[in-house]
Symmetry: C2
Subunit: 360 residues, 2 copies
């Protein structure tokens, strides 16, 4: 067995100790004689797994007591519908910042259920950036202000949390969740698909402030009703049990590594190195304004895009996998989530320098 450095944007690389433990426990979890995958979600064993996962996540993020942590299904795309269904209430409009593909999808989905006011358009042009908040055209009657904290495809990330005043702030944090500490108290709702930074696809974390639990439309599907799921400890129906178990192992791993402050240092270090290597070369280029560059997803293009195929196949041979950029933008993309070790980034930088030497 030989593990590669996997730069996939999601599903993405996971900590090897987590996978080892999962493999070891696959047929018999803690002497129960069964796999976690086979356990009743109502049984003591699984309830203990779910409770521990929630407690660890709360500890990692210092989630305030007036927030509920839900473990739901459907990924962030499900929340694109669930957010307006749960939060619009009597408001006539919702505010969305558009900074790229995922913002656009969230806006389109919300438009099925309410009127959407796009407050600003970013993530366009070259270099791509995020318009200053002073220029945003917010509606004071909006039920909430929504933004995508990190656009996975283009690598455009908010460096700071926007100030939404009294309007609840809602964020799709899928690809930045748990990459650094976060002031949860600034938000009304945070949601994140697990498959970027903390687990298998199919699990979604939703963190929602208590006072927002009473606004759901009668059209909200039960399994996405925040209040009902909060009352049922996310077990209104059978949750994605095995995915939650893996996420729990990732939370434990994060705690063991020193928590989110340590992750922030490491992630900042990894991203800084990689951007420095790109910026220091005329052969590679990153098309994002430095102030809006993602720590998690680093897209780059080759000056000569006819070399793209060769770059990818040689990288693959060197054990650097899944570096192809999203089909909508082309080029390359290195996703360097928590579980990507600095050694993986070093290996990529070394390969890039070598490739440039041979083809530049």
């Amino acid at each position: 067995m030989s593990r590669v450095f996997n730069f996939s944007a999601g599903p993405a690389t996971l900590p090897e100790p987590v996978l080892r433990q999962a493999a070891e426990e696959m047929l018999d979890w803690h002497g129960t004689g069964m796999s976690v995958m086979e356990m009743s979600h109502r049984g003591k064993a699984f309830v203990s797994i779910a409770e521990q996962a929630e407690a660890d996540l709360r500890e990692l993020l210092a989630v305030p007591d007036n927030y509920r942590v839900l473990f739901l299904q459907g990924g962030a795309t499900a929340q694109f519908a669930a957010v307006p269904l749960n939060l619009v209430g009597d408001a006539p409009v919702v505010d969305y910042v558009n900074t790229g593909s995922w913002s656009k999808k969230a806006i389109a989905e919300a438009g099925k259920y309410t009127r959407v006011n796009v407050v600003a358009e970013g993530g366009k042009g070259d270099p791509m950036g995020i318009p200053a908040q002073a220029t945003w055209q917010c509606d004071p009657q909006a039920a909430y202000l929504h933004y995508c904290a990190n656009e996975t495809i283009t690598g455009v990330e908010f460096a700071d949390i926007p100030d939404s005043g009294d309007v609840p702030l809602v964020s799709d944090m899928s690809s930045t969740f748990l990459s650094r500490p976060l002031d949860v108290s600034r938000f009304g709702v945070i949601y994140a698909g697990a498959q970027k930074n903390f687990g298998p696809a199919g699990l979604t974390v939703v963190i929602v402030r208590d006072d927002l639990l009473d606004r759901a439309s009668s059209l909200t599907p039960s399994i996405w009703d925040y209040k009902r799921q909060a009352e049922a400890d996310s077990m209104l129906n059978t949750p994605a049990t095995y995915s939650l178990y893996i996420a729990g192992l990732v939370f434990q791993w994060l705690k063991g590594e020193g928590g989110l402050e340590v992750m922030a240092e490491r992630n900042h270090q990894k991203a800084s190195k990689l951007y420095a290597a790109i910026d220091g070369s005329a052969f590679y280029r990153n098309p994002v304004e430095p102030s809006a560059r993602s720590w998690m997803n680093v897209p780059f293009v080759l000056a000569d895009d006819s070399l793209d195929g060769q770059f990818l196949s040689e990288a693959e041979s060197a054990g650097l996998s899944t570096l192809k950029g999203h089909r909508s933008v082309g080029g390359m993309r290195a996703s360097i989530y928590n579980a990507m070790p600095e050694a993986g980034v070093d290996a990529l930088i070394e390969f890039m320098a070598d490739f440039e030497k041979r083809h530049g």
Copy 2:
């Protein structure tokens, strides 16, 4: 490591060879250097896994070419909303048979989106049964006729497929799916959560006839839109990749065992034995009419329910796990899905006889 016989109603026991293979491949699937859990869903490796899973499922069930197979998220409870959202179209009403708890939940959820006509009430009284179809009050204008093929909680199962005439027939098959051959051509839509008979919780199979793909309400969340998911090969968003991989391994296991005819024989044999043991005793009782008895979920009560706790704790000690009946009905329930070997049923019958001898 010692495996128990796990009678959980779901999540439920899985074939041991499937779990062994999953454990072996956890860190490196087929020399890719990564876990299936870490693979991009758009990459060649995972696409091959998904395609094989669909091909195997189609082969097992002999799914006709004019049906699409979707792998979605959210469990059957998600489909309680997705079915009316996708299928009502311009129809003024939908028909539902009520045979128990899951039927009731499906009816309540459909009632959010359309008018529901309950055509018959079953699964009540003692013994519980299913009203003859001749007595059902169907509405000829109904968009579809829905029934729950197997009520997991009470063990009330349809022995035959109802005749819905020209009205599309829709069935929640969660706990009977793949337990025997099925004439798919009789249905408009079949759906099933994986966690009973073919995989981890979080994956849902939907089999939908082509001509029903054009009726979705504009309020349908994108990830549940049958047509859009059919066009996107179930990858409109990131699917529950690892759960789909496990389901694929179960499909392979089913094929290796001889397919659904063999499963039907085994399941019939297991259920017959267990019902015979119950019926042959004055100490145990099953509260379902013989014609409506489930092959998959066998509830039974003790004549003296003060012995319930002792029965459960002694069974647990004997390696017979998760026999407690659903909290809404009490007593015991043995779920004996495909992956429960006949030896497990034999062990249960032996334990029951011994317990009766000591306490009867």
